[in-house]
C-alpha cells in the first residue's frame, strides 16, 4: 500500500451496501464497508467466474514497483446484466478503478466502479440511481 497511487477516499457507500448485501456465495465482511480506494492501473486479467469474478489490475507504485490488485464482483450473469462483458476490460486496458479494500491489508477490494481510459464507466453492482431533481 505504501507509496501506491492511491487517490483516496473515505465516504459512505450505502448504494453499494444495498447492492452487495444479497446472500451471495459469501459475506462481504472481509471488505471495509465505509472506505474506498481508487487507483489508476492496467488490467492484467479478468477472471469471469462464478460465484464471484475478479478483475486483476496492475497498479504501479511511486517507487516503480507493481502491485497486482484484485477487485471482486458478482458472477458472470450479474455482470452481463449490468453491462460488463469480458471483452470490455481486456488485459492491457487502462482504467481508473474504485473499490472497498480488504480489512486485512492485502491488495484486494470489492469492485465498485471502473472508468476506462476512453471514459466508459462500469458499475458491477448496477449503475447508481440518478440524483433526484431539486
Amino acid at each position: 500500500m505504501n507509496g501506491n497511487r492511491m487517490t483516496a477516499a473515505v465516504f459512505a457507500t450505502a448504494i453499494l451496501l444495498a447492492a452487495t448485501s444479497a446472500q451471495a456465495h459469501h459475506s462481504s465482511v472481509m471488505f471495509e464497508d465505509k472506505k474506498e480506494v481508487t487507483f489508476e492501473g492496467v488490467v492484467k486479467e479478468f477472471q469471469f467466474t462464478n460465484p464471484h469474478s475478479w478483475l486483476v489490475v496492475n497498479v504501479t507504485n511511486k517507487d516503480g514497483s507493481v502491485t497486482a490488485w484484485g477487485f471482486e464482483a458478482e458472477g458472470p450473469s450479474t455482470l452481463i446484466r449490468n453491462g460488463i462483458r469480458p471483452a470490455d476490460l481486456k488485459p492491457g486496458t487502462k482504467l481508473t478503478i474504485t473499490g472497498r479494500p480488504m480489512k486485512d491489508g492485502r491488495p484486494g477490494a470489492l469492485f465498485v466502479k471502473a472508468v476506462r481510459d476512453d471514459g466508459v464507466e462500469f458499475y458491477p453492482g448496477g449503475r447508481p440511481a440518478p440524483a433526484a431533481r431539486p
Binding site: Q23, H25, H26, S27, E45, H52, S77, T78, R106
Partner: protein
C-alpha cells in the same frame, strides 16, 4: 462532488426505504394477517395442502400443455417477507426460544461485522426454503407431469411432481436439501407441498431449520413480468405457530437474449475460497494474484 456527498446518504436511505415499502405495500397488513391465519388454521402443512386441494375440487394433475401458464424467461428475486423479520403491520413470527436466541445472536454478530455462511461459503447448496430468498437468475420449466423451479446458484433444481404421485412412503424418506415436492394445478396456480427437508442453517447467521419442517406454496404469475409465491412454513422446532411469507420474482429484461443461465462451478476460481476466522467471520484464503512481497497473509 461535495453536493453529491451531502445528498448521497439521505438519498440512498430514501431509495432503500422506498424499496422496502414498495415490497411490503404490495400486501396490506390485513391481507398478510388473513394469509397468516389461513396457515395457522391447520395443524400441519399436509392438512393445509389437502384443504387447498379440496377447495380446488381436487386440482389438476398432468394438465395438457395448453392449460399451463407461460412462465418462460429469466427471473430473479425481487423481495417480499423473510423467515424471521416482521411482515406488514409489524406482525412477527412466533419463534421458539432457541430460535429467537439464535436470531438475536446473529444480529449482534452481524452488527460487529462478523458473518460466516455455513453452507454457501463451503460451496454447499442453499437448500430449501432458503432457495426462496437467494439472488441471481431463475428459470421455471413447466411441463404437465413436472415443474422445475431452478436457480443458477450451484445449478439447483426443485422438481415439483404434478402427475398425481404421493410423497415417498415414510420408510423410504431421508433428509434432502430441497425436500420432496408434489403439487397440483388450480387453474394458473401451482400448489406445492414439500417435506423430507434437512436440518441445516436457513441462512447466514440464522437459526437452523429442523427435519420436521414442511411447507406449502402457491405460485402464480400475477401479471406480465411478475411472479408471486405465497409460502406457509411449518416447523414446530423453529416456530410455535406456522409462519407465512409472500415472495416476489421479477422477469429479467433480456431483449437481446444476451443473459443466459450457465453452469455454476463454485470451486472453479481459487480466489473465491474462504475460511472461517477465529472470531467466526469470513476471510479469503490465499489470493493467487497477490504479490507475496506486498501481501499480508492472514493467520489461519
Amino acid at each position: 462532488m461535495t453536493s453529491f456527498k451531502k445528498f448521497a446518504v439521505p438519498m440512498v436511505l430514501l431509495i432503500v426505504s422506498a424499496s422496502v415499502f414498495a415490497q411490503n405495500a404490495r400486501q396490506s397488513p390485513d391481507e398478510f394477517r388473513r394469509m397468516l391465519d389461513r396457515g395457522i388454521k391447520y395443524r400441519t402443512a399436509a392438512e393445509l395442502y389437502q384443504a387447498l386441494k379440496t377447495e380446488a375440487h381436487g386440482g389438476k394433475q398432468s394438465p395438457p400443455f395448453d392449460q399451463l401458464p407461460d412462465w418462460s424467461g429469466l427471473w430473479t428475486a425481487a423481495g417480499g417477507n423473510t423467515f424471521f423479520d416482521a411482515g406488514p403491520g409489524g406482525i412477527a413470527p412466533k419463534l421458539r426460544p432457541a430460535a429467537a436466541a439464535a436470531v438475536k445472536k446473529g444480529e449482534e454478530l452481524a452488527a460487529k461485522g462478523i458473518e460466516y455462511d455455513e453452507n454457501l461459503s463451503q460451496c454447499g447448496p442453499p437448500g430449501f426454503p432458503r432457495w426462496l430468498v437467494i439472488p441471481f437468475l431463475r428459470e421455471f420449466i413447466v411441463r404437465p407431469e413436472e415443474t422445475w423451479l431452478t436457480s443458477e446458484t450451484v445449478n439447483n433444481v426443485r422438481r415439483i411432481y404434478t402427475d398425481g404421485r404421493s410423497h415417498p412412503a415414510p420408510e423410504e424418506r431421508y433428509p434432502l436439501y430441497y425436500g420432496d415436492s408434489i403439487g397440483f394445478w388450480d387453474g394458473p396456480k401451482l400448489v406445492i407441498h414439500t417435506n423430507q427437508l434437512m436440518t441445516r442453517s436457513m441462512g447466514r447467521q440464522q437459526p437452523d431449520q429442523s427435519d420436521q419442517m414442511e411447507t406449502v406454496e402457491i405460485w402464480q404469475k400475477v401479471r406480465a413480468g411478475v411472479m408471486e409465491a405465497d409460502v406457509w412454513i411449518y416447523d414446530p422446532a423453529l416456530y410455535s405457530e406456522p409462519w407465512y411469507m409472500k415472495r416476489i420474482y421479477n422477469q429479467v429484461p433480456n431483449p437481446e437474449k444476451s443473459v443466459r443461465v450457465q453452469y455454476w462451478n463454485c470451486t472453479e476460481n481459487p480466489n473465491n475460497e474462504v475460511y472461517k476466522t477465529p472470531d467466526g467471520s469470513t476471510n479469503y484464503k490465499d489470493l493467487t494474484f497477490s504479490n507475496k512481497d506486498n501481501a499480508k497473509e492472514p493467520k489461519r
